[in-house]
């Protein structure tokens, strides 16, 4: 039995309705309890800001694509090297750090749970190997279904049950957590070097549209009673005028779940562009947020970009190729048979570029114009918009109008006319930030009852104590203190153990991986369906028996069972 008592913590726990109370947190064997014995180890939080461990609900840190980003970037690897030190292994890389690098840096920022944004089922084993090698965060994997042949066939047949059965079998087989659709239908078209331009275009050969795929997958998701909703990267990412596609997509979404959203729309900044070309691109954040403000069934995340050199990586193959033709830098592409695609290119977001400045402003506008912080979560689509180490700066910008104004003054002159950021007075408070960086994520991912995102009795003791005194820091003025404060916790506690202190990693750690297991009725299970099996064996290049990820790949797996079809 190990016990820990965190005293004098200034706690903000939105899920528990706690906002800035000074209190003690008792921990026994990794969970939060009512009280501990007087033998417990004591940490004095000294009235510093204490939050549930941070949760990133959309980041790219593990798997084939991320590792290929590293593989092709020795120039980035040398940008962030640290030596082996105590319990810390060697790290390399700035925007695509090694697994240790990612984990340590997230840990130093108080993050304890991460959702990998895109995992191709065929290559899931790779993602799980890296999950296991990630010491300090619990992991979940979005599973790509955007170009899944079996799914598209079932959608064409308008067979929702079968769609659900395919999804359920796949998630179980490859130990995925949630449904991810990246440019639905578009990644299959990219198999021929083509793309789709609206949600009503037909996918070549399969005769289904993105709208049909999205609608069917939402229904299948709810039929399976999956903890998370469908997680969508809309069509037409990064194209001027794409906001209309995004609005059209939002209109498809019914409100089907009382506990959480029905659609999670990710990195919406990249989907909120007006104009027709790169020359007259402008912000449509107002239109997007108007739609979201009227639809509680939708949660989005920002997809904030920051000015720096970074790497874009997404399953959206055609988008990456278009971007490559603009930038003429290196380009990798990796299409996955019967499932999805992916692309990677390095980019530099520069204040000299009007387009980049407008993008930067749109991300902030989305957050500031969304009334409920529970509906617009903070992330950069790491590393696409910026590496996650930039989150503290994003927090600073959201909390301080002055910081925004100072930044705006250094931007390309076309920014102001094409966005409304400068006119926005809103300054977020500590509670808003707590929602946007952990509580909102826990609710959106459906992991509150797994003990994530809050500090109630029975919750997992994942806690971040920041060197910030909310009673003495005025974030609107002293935004630099805010940025610094969020860069390094005093303590990051993972399942009751201090894993990082003042940015130093002090234990090796051992994480857990959450995956969803939906119980599917025997009569519709696809692994009993001879036609499904026949097509699998004929068109995949691995045997169906070698496809599932064995439990040995999840040494600390946490299965989340759902009562599907009930």
């Amino acid at each position: 039995m190990t016990e820990l008592l965190v005293k004098n913590a200034c706690v903000i726990d939105p899920i528990q309705g706690i906002n800035g109370e000074i209190m003690d947190i008792a921990i026994r064997d990794g969970r939060i309890v009512e009280s501990v014995s007087d033998r417990a180890e004591v940490i004095d939080a000294q009235r510093c800001l204490t939050l549930p461990g941070g949760i990133d609900s959309h980041t790219h840190v593990c798997g084939t694509k991320v590792n290929f980003g590293r593989y092709m970037s020795p120039e980035d690897m040398r940008a962030g090297r640290t030596q082996r030190r105590g319990r810390m292994h060697v790290t390399s890389g700035y925007y695509v750090p090694t697994t240790f690098g990612n984990s340590y840096r997230y840990s130093a920022m108080g993050y304890t749970t991460l959702l990998e944004g895109a995992m191709a089922p065929l290559e899931a084993r790779h993602t799980h190997e890296e999950f296991t090698a990630t010491p300090h965060q619990d992991m979940l994997a979005n599973t790509l279904f955007d170009g899944n042949w079996a799914v598209m066939d079932a959608v064409r047949e308008k067979n929702i049950k079968k769609t659900a059965a395919i999804v359920g079998w796949t998630l179980n087989a490859i130990k995925g957590y949630a449904i991810k659709l990246t440019n639905p239908g578009g990644t299959e078209a990219w198999g021929w070097g083509e793309d789709l331009t609206s949600i009503h275009d037909q996918v070549p050969h399969f005769e289904v549209t993105p709208a049909e795929i999205i609608t069917a997958m939402i229904q299948a998701n709810e039929l399976l009673k999956l903890p998370h909703s469908v997680h969508l990267h809309c069509n037409n990412l990064g194209k001027p005028g794409n906001y209309q596609t995004t609005l059209d997509t939002f209109e498809l979404v019914p409100d089907l779940n009382p506990d959480r959203q029905t659609l999670y729309a990710t990195h919406v900044q990249f989907h909120a562009y007006g104009g027709r070309t790169w020359r007259n691109i402008c912000s449509k954040a107002e239109e997007i947020t108007r739609s979201v403000n009227s639809k509680p069934q939708i949660v989005m995340d920002m997809g904030q970009i920051m000015f720096c050199r970074t790497m874009t990586m997404t399953a959206d193959g055609p988008m990456e190729f278009n971007l490559h033709c603009l930038h003429h830098n290196k380009w990798s592409n990796h299409d996955v048979e019967l499932e999805t695609g992916s692309g990677i290119i390095p980019v530099t977001y520069s204040k000299k570029s009007a387009v980049n400045c407008i993008m930067w402003a749109i991300g902030l506008e989305l957050a500031l114009l969304t009334k409920s912080p529970w509906q617009c979560l903070l992330e950069t689509d790491n590393p696409n918009g910026a590496p996650f180490v930039k989150y503290p700066e994003v927090i600073g910008l959201l909390m301080s109008k002055r910081y925004r104004d100072e930044e705006c003054a250094t931007l390309h002159p076309d920014t102001e006319g094409n966005t409304s950021l400068c006119a926005l007075e809103r300054e977020m408070d500590w509670h808003d930030i707590a929602v946007m960086t952990r509580a909102g994520q826990a609710k959106a991912l459906g992991i509150i009852n797994q003990g994530k995102g809050h500090l109630g009795t029975g919750a997992e003791a994942d806690i971040a104590i920041y060197p910030i005194r909310t009673d003495s820091v005025d974030p609107a003025r002293e935004y630099r203190k805010v940025v610094e404060g969020f860069q390094k916790t005093r303590y990051t506690i993972k399942r009751g153990r201090v894993v990082s202190q003042d940015g130093e990693i002090i234990v090796d750690g051992a994480n857990a991986t959450f995956w969803a297991n939906a119980k599917i009725p025997e009569d519709i299970r696809v692994d009993n369906d001879p036609e499904f099996i026949r097509r699998f064996q004929e068109f995949y290049t691995v045997r169906m028996s070698n496809y599932p990820v064995q439990e040995i790949y999840l040494p600390r797996g946490r299965r989340v069972d759902t009562e599907a079809f009930t």
Binding site: P74, E75, R78, N329
Partner: protein, 256 residues
């Protein structure tokens, strides 16, 4: 001030030494510097006899002289910004990495990556230079960006790869692929070159000797006199395969 470093005889003479601390500026505060021999950290005095002559108040007045066998010593002059280094024999890899000012003179030969990612200053190598003379780092878009590298002997393969600025002058011949991926700057080759300027985007290269295996995707646009060299040269644009706008000038054999 002159700092003379004479390498001591080592038990394992083939283990490489990494000595990026050997730049003039560092000797302003003494000779208490650290270097690496393989995976072991050593003091400068463990590996060198150190003689200091005179004093200096600013680094530009410091000359470092490296004597003895320096052929396994890497990264001498890395990030050097002022002062001078004289190497009396051969020097190991990565001499003058990221150099931005000052001068390095090598009386013998230089191993690979001489002047890698150089920004300014001057390197004179009186012997031959190894492969990747005046180039960049793996995966990086730009190689050398400024300054001058002059080699009186020959240079190895991939000389001036990704050259983006500054001047590289090899008086002898180069190996395979000089000026490959060039995007700026000026490369002059005194004698022969094999497959020069493949895939170049921009910049200028002059070959005063023979070209072996000319890349087939260069477009001959002119024949002109180059007064600087007192020769007549064919002028090519390319690399067409790479939408390049670079200039490659090759002396016409026999014409003076």
């Amino acid at each position: 001030m002159r700092v003379i470093l004479e390498s001591k005889v080592r038990k394992k003479p083939t283990i490489p030494i990494e000595a990026e601390s050997i730049i003039p500026r560092n000797f302003l505060k003494g000779t208490d510097l650290m270097v690496y021999e393989g995976n072991k950290e050593r003091t400068l005095s463990e590996l060198f006899w150190i003689f200091v002559e005179g004093t200096a108040v600013s680094p530009e007045n410091i000359e470092v002289v490296l004597k003895g066998d320096a052929s396994r010593i890497k990264r001498v002059g890395e990030y050097m910004d002022t002062g001078s280094i004289l190497i009396t024999g051969d020097i190991g890899m990565h001499c003058g990495n990221f150099m931005s000012g000052g001068t390095i003179e090598i009386l013998g030969n230089a191993d690979a990556w001489l002047g890698r990612e150089m920004r300014g200053g001057m390197i004179l190598c009186r012997g031959n230079a190894g492969h990747y003379c005046a180039t960049g780092y793996r995966g990086e878009k730009k190689g050398m960006q400024g300054g001058k590298v002059e080699v009186l002997g020959n240079a190895g393969d991939f000389c001036a790869e990704y050259l983006a600025g500054g001047e590289v002058h090899v008086h002898g011949s180069t190996g395979d692929f000089p000026g490959v991926e060039m995007r700026g700057g000026r490369l002059t080759i005194g004698r022969d070159a094999t497959r020069p300027c493949a895939n170049m985007k921009d910049g200028t290269c002059v070959v005063l000797g023979n070209v072996h295996e000319m890349i087939p995707t260069f477009e001959k646009i002119d024949r002109r006199v180059l007064p600087e060299w007192k020769i007549i040269a064919d002028v090519y644009k390319g690399d067409v395969a790479n939408r390049g706008k670079g200039t490659l000038m090759v002396k016409i054999p026999g014409a003076a």
